[in-house]
Symmetry: C2
Subunit: 302 residues, 2 copies
């Protein structure tokens, strides 16, 4: 069995491109990284790689991570500024093995030492959108690209890449390069990755939470729904209104699923015997609902 699942509608093009390669025997990590790189290189996608919307000072700071599920090796970079393909630096760290996460100028120096192309990340279109958003004093959402892959040799991998929250404070790191929050993969169980407001995703450590739920026997969809729902409800109990949280899950058998606490999320997937397709996601709980969630109505005032 092979399978691949990616966040948001724009991952469909990469799944169409790389599903045949998985079917032909390509490895999970190579495929997840190649798919993520394809979206990084697509300037039309303004939340990742080249074309990503910059931070408050007009500088692009990219975050990315890769994890493989056999030995749980991790590679991640944060605050990556001089190369539009942070996923390639993250992949190199997995192979490098000694370090899991590099940030800031150290991450950029590592990329230079690898000979990764140092190219401008900012495009004219992203700069124009940045100016517009800045005038409106709003950010544009948090559409992290995540791919989970299972290859025919029963190996699993996850690749995530993002330009982070638009107009963010320089140095801000979200969930994407943080293991357990933005991503997790374990060949013995499955893999998960998240997209949404990183600050809220981190509070629930949602990716590890979902993989542990699959370990307990839940299906990928049930695990994603439980992780999103538990995190959402816990934040409500703590007096915090949750922002957008969405996630995708894939188990070691090739079953996949997703969950979100809002109405915008969709994902793309393909697996052996199932052609690439886009799947909308109905919210498991709605962060725009004005009434207290049913589960909490008995707790009012507690």
């Amino acid at each position: 069995m092979w399978a691949i699942i990616g966040t948001w509608h724009f991952s469909l093009q990469a799944i169409e491109a790389f599903a045949p390669r998985l079917a032909a025997g390509d490895g999970a990590m190579d495929t997840a990284v190649a798919a993520a790189r394809m979206i990084e290189d697509d300037e039309r996608v303004d939340s990742v790689g080249r074309g990503g919307i910059p931070n408050a000072q007009g500088e692009c700071e990219l975050d990315a991570a890769v994890m493989e599920g056999r030995a749980l090796r991790i590679g991640a970079v944060a605050g990556f500024c001089h190369c539009p393909n942070p996923i390639l630096a993250a992949r190199a760290l997995v192979d490098h093995a000694e370090y899991n996460l590099l940030c800031g100028v150290g991450a950029d120096a590592f990329a230079r030492s690898l000979g990764l192309p140092q190219q401008p990340i900012l495009t004219e279109a992203a700069l124009a959108r940045w100016q517009q958003l800045r005038q409106q004093r709003q950010d544009k959402g948090h559409d992290t690209v995540c791919f989970l892959a299972l290859s025919a040799d029963a190996r699993m991998a996850v690749a995530v890449t993002t330009s982070g929250m638009s107009l963010k404070l320089p140095g801000r790191v979200g969930d994407s390069p943080l293991v357990g929050s933005g991503f997790y993969a374990d060949d013995e169980v499955g893999a998960a990755a998240a997209t949404g407001l990183g600050e809220d995703i981190m509070k629930g450590v949602v990716s590890f939470r979902a993989v542990e739920a699959m370990r307990q026997g839940l299906s990928p969809r049930q695990a994603a729904e439980q992780a999103v729902r538990e995190t959402h409800l816990r934040l409500v109990r703590g007096g915090h209104k949750p922002d957008n949280i969405a996630m995708v899950c894939l188990d070691k058998y090739g079953n996949f699923g997703a969950a979100a606490n809002h109405r915008e999320f969709a994902y793309a997937a393909a697996r052996e015997g199932l052609a690439p397709a886009l799947y909308p996601v109905e919210p498991v709980i709605d962060n725009q609902a004005t009434a207290l969630p049913r589960e909490l109505q008995g707790l009012a005032g507690s």
Copy 2:
């Protein structure tokens, strides 16, 4: 009930200083942060704050984090270079609320905007030790300072601070500022924090894992032992020899415990009715053992 637990023998001085304040009604977060700051300011401790051993280029890069267990608010900084008290910047981020984690120059800029004192971190003693370690081509261990506190008003908090792996590649970030790996706190259950090789701790997301185990009913000691043991054994199954992993846990009732996969770890603790004391920790599994762990002997070759 109030309680406080800290990693390593050097946390005892801070627990002796701040346990009376918890008894007098100080809050969990204020206490955990004050205790961590006291160790940051102690130049004799060469793994944290002023006096910490620098990276491969001779520059100190500090990491720290704070989490509070009511609304799961997080503040963390990584690659913090110009102020010996990263825990104060982390604490300010908790109150700031919009961002959880800042890295590199952005973190330093945030510290300056707070008016935190910009002082040299490197001491002559740390520089001498760095030169010695560099000649010997070895690092010196990973003695992260972690405090978990429970205050009389049933609030919990965790504070962690470290100078990270000595001689590390510039930009390297370990588990300490990463939620779920280096720390986690939830007033509904308990809190946990880790010390050891960050790269291995991150693979097991050990702090969140331990808090979830307490949620399932395990005691703090059982939860710590399960988290260390599961992570250690999973790494062995993946073909990786685990480095040092140790952790402390505290539940919402004031019970505490710890676990390690090596013989060096000790912690200090105090709680209502129990004077500050140092506790050695017997390894739950030994990463220096040459034989395959008993649990894996049947799996050889799998």
